[in-house]
């Protein structure tokens, strides 16, 4: 029997991501309620799928048809809405990444989930991507030192990907871009938000490879909207290069890993689309090249399946791992913010 899902949030991440994803899992989930924060978009979306709509979270949390709360609101709202869901008696939560934006929030929400036995999945879709599992297995089996990890993200506007999985209603607001020259504190704050909100896609995977970052040596804001970060963890160099662009080439989303013996590239598909798993390629030190066969399942479907399995009693919530992932991301974001300020000669 399909479980009822109440979605908190009605932005593009719901219209173009979670509704199409849940349509692929119709035997396990059915969206019964959509709530917005006052934009009116929830009613529009809900009408399209025959669900109920409301504003704020109270009505959705009081809806007895909601078995699963999907939190797809802005990141700063996540922790409070998880706690409100638990307080309302809901025991199954899908939370879009990030889980929370401060370490204190992470502790609070996970303590509440642990205490109540709440099934929780955080939508770190790259971590759920089957190709990442293969890449990680390859590295684990090789048991070699990782020399470097380079994460590259180059993103055009999302509209083109929304357009292939949904139909937009109304007029989308033009994306806001910060000015090229700005105060260092603003730049640092933007970098922090980008790490927590965008870089988070790959940070649990990065933690798989580099469990502890010793230092973020440098971080810079990159116009029009992006960052570069260079860090060290043990004997591994980590670089992150991210650019959100106003137009142009298709999305590039790559994790490049150089080990003592191999080079691995994991190229993730663009956000929103359902084109199977990432592409994982390995080049050995002597030039042999292997490309793993992609899996039909993508990370978005896989993360919702993981929640369905938990609700069916398959597997357990790895709270410690979720906590470590969240703390890792927040720690990196904080360190990057500090590094931007340090680079600009501004006291944190």
């Amino acid at each position: 029997m399909a479980r009822g899902v109440g979605i908190v949030g009605a932005g593009p991440g719901v219209a173009a991501l979670h509704l199409p994803t849940l349509a692929r899992l119709a035997e396990r989930f059915r969206v019964v309620h959509v709530a917005d924060a006052g934009s009116g978009r929830a009613a529009d979306l809900a009408e399209l799928i025959g669900a109920r709509a409301s504003t704020g979270v109270d009505d959705l949390l009081a809806d007895p048809g909601v078995d699963v709360v999907a939190i797809c609101s802005p990141p700063a709202e996540h922790a409070g809405q998880i706690l409100a869901s638990i307080a309302a008696g809901k025991r199954a939560i899908f939370c879009e990444k990030p889980l929370a934006v401060t370490a204190a929030e992470v502790a609070e929400v996970l303590d509440a989930c642990r205490a109540t036995g709440t099934r929780l999945v955080v939508g770190t879709n790259h971590l759920f991507d089957p190709a990442w599992g293969r890449a990680k297995h390859h590295l684990d089996a090789a048991n070699v030192e990782i020399r470097s990890v380079a994460i590259t993200v180059a993103l055009p506007p999302n509209d083109r990907y929304h357009a292939v999985v949904s139909e937009r209603g109304g007029t989308a607001p033009a994306p806001r871009r910060p000015p090229a020259e700005m105060d260092a504190r603003i730049a640092a704050s933007i970098v922090r938000q980008l790490v927590v909100g965008l870089g988070i896609h790959d940070l649990p995977a990065l933690r798989d490879l580099v469990p502890h970052l010793d230092a973020v040596d440098v971080a810079r804001f990159v116009p029009p909207l992006g960052y570069v970060i260079a860090a060290r963890g043990g004997e591994t160099l980590v670089t992150l290069a991210v650019a959100m662009l106003p137009a142009g080439a298709e999305a590039l989303w790559r994790v490049s890993i150089v080990t003592e013996t191999d080079r691995l590239d994991v190229d993730f598909p663009p956000a929103f689309v359902h084109a199977g798993s990432a592409r994982a390629r390995v080049t050995t030190v002597d030039g042999r090249f292997t490309e793993y066969q992609p899996d039909a399942v993508d990370g978005y479907v896989a993360e919702w399946r993981a929640l369905a399995d938990l609700l069916d009693g398959i597997g357990v919530v790895e709270f410690d791992s979720l906590e470590d992932d969240a703390r890792y991301a927040i720690g990196l974001a904080d360190a990057a913010e500090a590094a931007v300020l340090r680079g600009a000669g501004v006291e944190a």
Binding site: R147, R232, L245, G248, A249, G287
Partner: protein, 246 residues
């Protein structure tokens, strides 16, 4: 027909592939002289009256000489550079990864820095350097002729037994990715635009033949001199000095 003076087998083959414009000879006077990264040999060629000097696999500071100098850098072919820069806009950022075995790491780093400079569109200034036992990362900033500032992040690592590898990526609305992978025989430029990806036809000409053609062009006053760019890349490589880099 221009005389080429060389004792390198690969350049003798290149002469054979330029049968109407070059021939082998012994006298430096008026000739293209091919030397292998040897300061003394470069000076001797210049003093011998060479019309142009080709330095194969340069690996150290080059002396000042009057003759035009063409550098044959293994992983920075000028024809690929031209492909990578043709019609390119100012990127938002440039990312470069490189690795090689210790013996080839310094040259690989210099060529990786060359690609960073080329793709960023201007000379680099070192911002921050960080190191681990087997590699170095660095963040640079390039200033383009139009005054745009482009951040660059580069990582170079040592890997035992590895052939040289460079991947350089210019990220903007259009992207340009350059891959040099000796083990796989790859030397390619790929462009990505909103319309899709394009990959120019492979360059089948040997790098030695290309260097000789450039030397002939330099004699004719057509081609430029590679020394200034080399000096910039070499200075930055020195600034990144680390035991892992040899």
């Amino acid at each position: 027909m221009t005389v080429v003076v060389t004792d390198r087998a690969d350049y003798r083959i290149a002469v054979a592939e330029l049968p109407r414009s070059t021939r082998l000879g012994d006298s430096a006077a008026g000739a293209v002289v091919v030397v292998t990264a040897d300061r003394g040999a470069i000076l001797a060629a210049a003093q011998g009256g060479a019309a142009a000097i080709v330095v194969a696999d340069p690996n150290r500071a080059l002396p000042e000489v009057g003759a035009p100098v063409v550098l044959d850098r293994a992983l920075l072919r000028p024809d690929l550079v031209a492909e990578a820069t043709s019609g390119a806009g100012v990127p938002a950022l440039v990312q470069v990864e490189a690795s090689a075995a210790r013996a080839e790491l310094a040259a690989t780093l210099r060529d990786a820095l060359g690609w960073a400079r080329v793709l960023a569109g201007g000379p680099l200034r070192l911002d921050t350097r960080l190191a681990v036992p087997d590699g170095v990362s660095a963040v640079f900033e390039a200033t383009t002729p139009s005054g745009d500032r482009v951040p660059i992040v580069l990582t170079v690592t040592h890997r035992t037994g590895s052939s040289p590898w460079i991947r350089a990526l210019a990220i903007g609305p259009d992207r340009c990715e350059v891959t040099l992978d000796v083990a796989r025989g790859l030397a390619r430029v790929e462009r990505a635009t909103e319309g899709g990806r394009t990959r120019p036809a492979p360059r089948w000409e040997s790098r030695e033949r290309l260097a000789l053609r450039r030397a002939l062009a330099a004699i004719g006053g057509v081609a430029g001199d590679d020394r200034a760019d080399w000096a910039r890349d070499d200075a930055l490589a020195t600034a990144l000095a680390h035991p892992a880099l040899g």
